[in-house]
């Protein structure tokens, strides 16, 4: 007898008509077999081994992306890789253009990890130094010159960074840039006025002139041993910076030199009326910039045109001289190695500004 309710129900179930409704999933058929599967790991039996290794170009690209990696060891390693690739590909040129590589390197000036910064510095120093007189550097000076503004931006940022270590390293990069591109690094509003402003806050001389004295609460003195070293280095770079910025390199003059310009010129100021030798000398006017407003051009003329030596001297005299002198004098009073270096900087300053006085 069909006494079991279960059996009855099962029988009835076979004849129940599934209802189809709009908007609902279609009920599964009786003979439906689920093909879905769960697995904890997908095991690949054989790994495919590509015979062709990735090209140097793709490897380099990959390493450039790794420069943003969160682990600092990876960043450092990829820097090392880039250095080795560049140094080995001397004759054929780099696998990627420098216009790709250099902008990617610049942000590492602000890297939080000291080893990465050191690695970057060694990379740049090694590759921009000519090996001998006959051979050019691996990264030609022209390529660096192209990207000077970008490097300057990051150097400015590093000079004002909250971390003392990054600030301490920042002048190393500035020194490197000065060595490689020379005057290019101090040209223009970015190169001169802005950098000087950063110097002021870096050395704590922003309000030195007004009698408030050199900085009161700061990082500079908190770690005396390290600090002395850092400030020595800062002062030596400052000296270099001022020298390049305000003293015209005097070429050794010989009467036999046909290329000597003075003899060929009708007038001593001819140069002013010739086409400028540098590009974009009116950059500070930002005639073609889209957003004019954000460039603050005249804050006491600090970031005005600084395309040539004279205007740089003018800016120095108008804005920064007092503060720098006060700061330097304070350092000289401290004495020691630092004081001696400060004296050297002061000499340069005197020399640069006095010559203009004599001319005028």
């Amino acid at each position: 007898m069909g006494s079991s309710s279960k059996k009855k129900k099962e029988k009835q179930k076979d004849f129940a008509k599934p209802k189809l409704r709009v908007g609902k999933t279609k009920p599964k058929a009786d003979n439906h077999t689920s093909t879905s599967f769960k697995s904890k790991a997908v095991v690949v039996g054989h790994q495919s081994l590509n015979a062709a290794a990735p090209t140097a170009q793709t490897q380099l690209k990959h390493n450039l992306t790794l420069l943003n990696h969160h682990s600092h060891t990876t960043r450092r390693d990829s820097l090392a890789h880039i250095a080795s690739v560049l140094s080995s590909s001397q004759s054929a040129g780099p696998p990627l253009p420098f216009s790709v590589i250099l902008p990617a390197l610049a942000p590492l000036i602000l890297d939080t990890a000291a080893p990465v910064r050191t690695q970057l510095l060694t990379l740049l120093t090694n590759l921009t130094k000519p090996k001998d007189l006959r051979q050019d550097a691996i990264i030609p000076a022209d390529a660096v010159r192209m990207h000077t503004p970008r490097f300057l931006l990051y150097i400015h940022s590093a000079m004002t960074h909250i971390s003392a270590d990054i600030r301490a390293d920042s002048t190393n990069f500035l020194a490197l840039l000065l060595n490689v591109v020379g005057e290019e690094a101090v040209r223009g509003a970015k190169g001169w006025g802005k950098t000087l402003k950063c110097w002021m806050v870096l050395l704590g001389w922003e309000s030195a002139k007004s009698g408030a004295g050199v900085r009161t609460s700061t990082i500079e003195f908190s770690d005396p041993g390290k600090n002395k070293k850092a400030s020595q280095q800062h002062l030596s770079v400052l000296k270099q910076f001022l020298t390049i910025g305000m003293l015209v390199a005097e070429e050794p003059v010989s009467n036999l030199d046909i290329g000597r310009n003075d003899l060929l010129r009708p007038h001593q100021y001819t140069e002013l009326y010739l086409l400028p030798r540098t590009s974009n000398i009116y950059a500070h006017l930002s005639l073609f910039a889209t957003s004019v407003a954000v460039e603050n051009v005249n804050e006491e003329d600090a970031e005005g045109s600084a395309e040539d030596c004279d205007s740089r001297k003018r800016i120095m005299k108008n804005v920064f001289e007092g503060n720098i002198r006060a700061g330097l004098l304070a350092r000289i009073q401290e004495g020691g190695e630092v004081g001696r270096q400060a004296g050297g900087v002061l000499k340069i300053l005197d020399k640069a500004l006095n010559t203009t006085d004599m001319e005028a």
Partner: protein, 725 residues
Amino acid sequence: MVKRKRTALEKQTNLPSLQNQIRRDPPSYRDDFLIQYRHYESQRDIFLAQPDGYDSDPFIEQLAFITHVADCYPAVTARFPQDLAELLLHHHNTLEPDLREKLVQCLVQLRNKDVIPSTALLQTLFPILTTTHSKHLRSQLYQSIVSDIRNANAKTKNHRLNKTVQGVLFNVVEAGKSTPDATVGLWAVKVTRELWKRGVWDDARTVEIIKEASLSANAKVMSGGVRFFLGVDKEKEEMDESDDEEDYSESLSKLKHQAGVNKKTKKKQTQMDRAIDKLKKKEKNKHKASPLNFSALHLLHDPQGFAESLYTMHLAKNNNKLSMEQKLLVLQLVSRLIGLHKLTVIGIYSYLLKYLTPRQREVTRFLVAAAQATHDHVPPDLLEPIIRKIADEFVSEGVAGEVATAGLNSIREICARQPLAMNDGLLQDLTAYKGSKDKGVMMAARSLIGLYRDVAPEMLKRKDRGKTATMEMKSKEKLRFGEEAPGTIEGLDLLEKWYEEQKAKKGEEGGEEEVDGDDDDQAWEGWDVESDSDDSGSWIAVASDDEKDIEISDSEDEKPSARSKKARADDEPVANGGSAEQPAAESEGNIMSLATTKILTPADLANLAKMRAQTDLQKASSKTITLKNEDEVDQSIIEGPKTRGKSDKEARLAAVMEGREGREKYSSKRGKALAEKPHSTTNKEKARRKNFMMTLGQAKKKQKRSLMDHRRILKAHVERQKKGK
């Protein structure tokens, strides 16, 4: 000593700690701040060199830091707010969302710290609000704009700010007025609406912005403006009510109870005090009449011009750009304006005529508009075609009951506002529907009869007039167009009746005249400032003088006294509504007698208000029609009572069954669990399907059981139940 030095020269490693130290002692940390400010500048330059693909996290951090301490170094950060504003203005479409959000936040924060004025903030944010493509940014800007204006108006109205912002909004709306695809005005409308709703703005200038918006060529802007006029008062009321509810939730009694039960601490005591203060304040505010609570429609300058230009711009010419819904909105607003301000827009009546057919979509709203656009200054010959058309199209034997109901109701609404629009023949035809089988039609026809019994009984058939109307007919004058009923004080007759009753009572006691004079003086007491002064004796003398004056004025016919005039100014001078309510039997002189012979004391006025409220209550319960042209016509009045037929119930049942389909049945969990898992038959199932023949013997035995046996069995059962087995 050494230790102190070291703590002073602590290393700065992160911005929050530096921020904390700067806040405590700004001058000492100036150099550190300068470094950070230069860092911000260089970060900004890096950002500007390549706005896209820039890692903005450190920049965001820097921005937050400088914003927080900007007020400590105003000289250094003078350009900072401007920088932010320019960054936002020039790059808002390319900026990374996080950075963009932070920039807005920083600006708002600077505003909160009073570093920049409100106008500067709004001038930055509003242009971005109207141009940005990002929905998220828009909502952020919108919120910050509204909250900024609200905060500025929180304590007292900041008229200067309001004026400038309203000026900006007005210009925005006006600039996009003639171009059909300028949606800029939409945001102006939205901001204005929000601020109106929250009671921040409630002046004529605000209304002017919206007025400009509703005359815009853009359909969206226009409908936003029109909706403001139609719905904003209701929204405002709801807002107020919801505020009230919050008050009640934390009532004083509850707090008192809690104070009694819980531990008594100082904190609790202060909480209690604060709550009491708050409640008292709320109570005070509730009783204080807000002086500027005018409806937006009342604040309009030149309503006639507005209504005309709305009509000619959006309705009159064949404007195909507007959808039906938008046209209806405009129509609703125009008709409401016409009714409220008693305007004359002649075109609208012929415009309406086109849409008054039962097949028209949303016809009830057109009928409502027709009723709203009627008032007693509309010439009857403009309305007659409308009534004729409604009667022809809606009210006939062939149409459904609902249609006839709607037709009759709308005719009644129109005629209540302008009774002269109807002629005898049509009225008598329409009243013939009073015997209809359909309840709605019957009620509508009866209400029409009721209306004309009041207004013009001679137009009705003799048998429809009723007793009182027939009696009043002789004294009633014929209606004439443009005739204004003399103004009265509503409920004055009630007061007079009340006086007579009082007099009768006192007359029984005796000494009628003296009592009357004293009574008046008593009524004035406590209401006048002079009564508080020292020499109350002289006051009485003045009062007697006053009464004499009135006697003199009484001899000149019907010149109302100064005070009653003033009293009338307080109550609105109701012209048509008031007179309709007056019993027509009373003669004119009789009505005005009290107003002309007596100065109404404040006590009288209070009494009058009370009595009027009572009669209003009565009126509300009895179904007489009271109509004012100011009020909106409710759509449900036109539609009549809704009936649900049998078919409707079936449909409802079907809907219920539809809903049940697919959901699991409500039943016990045990049953469901059993049904799912395979199980042997339960005892219950076995008992249910036990063979009948097998149970017969048991049943017989049961009948033959002795009482003792029965008792034992029952006892055992009880025992088992107790054990829970």
